[in-house]
């Protein structure tokens, strides 16, 4: 059977925390990329956004649309001409102790020469009625092949034991 999922790299945050997790030097040999993460953020909230950028490019290249549920309401949000894609969730420190969010960021055709689409499925774990889960569709208008992926906390740090795994997906 063909090997379709290949673990490229993984990281576990140490005791000092980390503002960013940067995967660099990503080879162009796969069809798609997948990031699976489990993150707790130092921000004093139940849910905290994670900022996603490619190739260290900010500017106004990103747009996105989110469908969101909080446990009591469903909503949608959108942004355009943004410096990052920011609607993927981390669990904040106001949530139940020792809980972490989990999420998947899927980037098809990352090595191509057209704009890059992204889909994100993420949920905050919290042993209470208030939480957050979201499905996000994003787009980067940059056409260069993606060689680096950055996950950044906008105002806190990723806490110890947060993890991120980068997989290469092959279609054959």
């Amino acid at each position: 059977m063909a090997t379709t999922y290949t673990l490229i790299s993984s990281v576990t945050v140490g005791s000092g925390g980390a503002a960013n997790i940067d995967f660099t030097g990503i080879p162009s040999t796969y069809t798609d990329l997948l990031v699976k993460y489990s993150i707790r953020d130092s921000n004093n909230s139940i849910s905290q956004n994670i900022n996603l950028t490619f190739n260290n490019a900010g500017g106004t290249a990103y747009s996105e649309r989110l469908l969101y549920g909080s446990g009591s309401a469903a909503q949608s949000f959108s942004s355009s001409s943004a410096a990052n894609i920011n609607f993927q969730y981390a669990t904040g420190v106001a949530a139940t102790a020792s809980t972490f969010s989990n999420g998947e960021i899927y980037i098809p055709n990352y090595a191509g020469s057209t704009a890059k689409s992204v889909s994100v499925d993420s949920v905050v774990e919290n042993n209470a009625s208030g939480t957050a889960m979201g499905l996000n569709a994003g787009l980067s208008s940059n056409t260069a092949a993606i060689t680096s992926v950055k996950l950044a906390s906008p105002s806190g740090t990723f806490q110890q034991y947060s993890t991120a795994y980068l997989y290469g997906i092959s279609n054959a």
């Binding site: 503002a19 940067d22 660099t24 030097g25 956004n49 909080s70 980068l166």
Partner: protein, 71 residues
């Protein structure tokens, strides 16, 4: 001091590096943008909750009774 973790996928090397001044400045911008966005989201949620409550009052039913209408 705030650090970042850099994983070089070509070598497997993982480094914990202090943020540069430019990156710290970028984080300050991100934090301000996030606070602004969060405030807008919270305001939208509050507005929706207020509108929902006003409608229920106008109809003279509870939220649970309104839910029954959707079944």
């Amino acid at each position: 001091m705030t650090n970042k973790i850099v994983v070089d996928c070509s070598t497997g090397e993982v480094q914990e590096i202090a943020l540069t001044e430019a990156e710290i400045a970028e984080r300050e911008v991100m934090a301000a943008e996030y606070a602004e966005q969060k405030a807008a989201e919270d305001a939208e949620k509050a507005e929706q909750a207020k509108a929902k409550k006003a409608l229920l009052t106008k109809l003279g039913i509870t939220a649970e009774e309104a839910q029954l209408l959707l079944l």
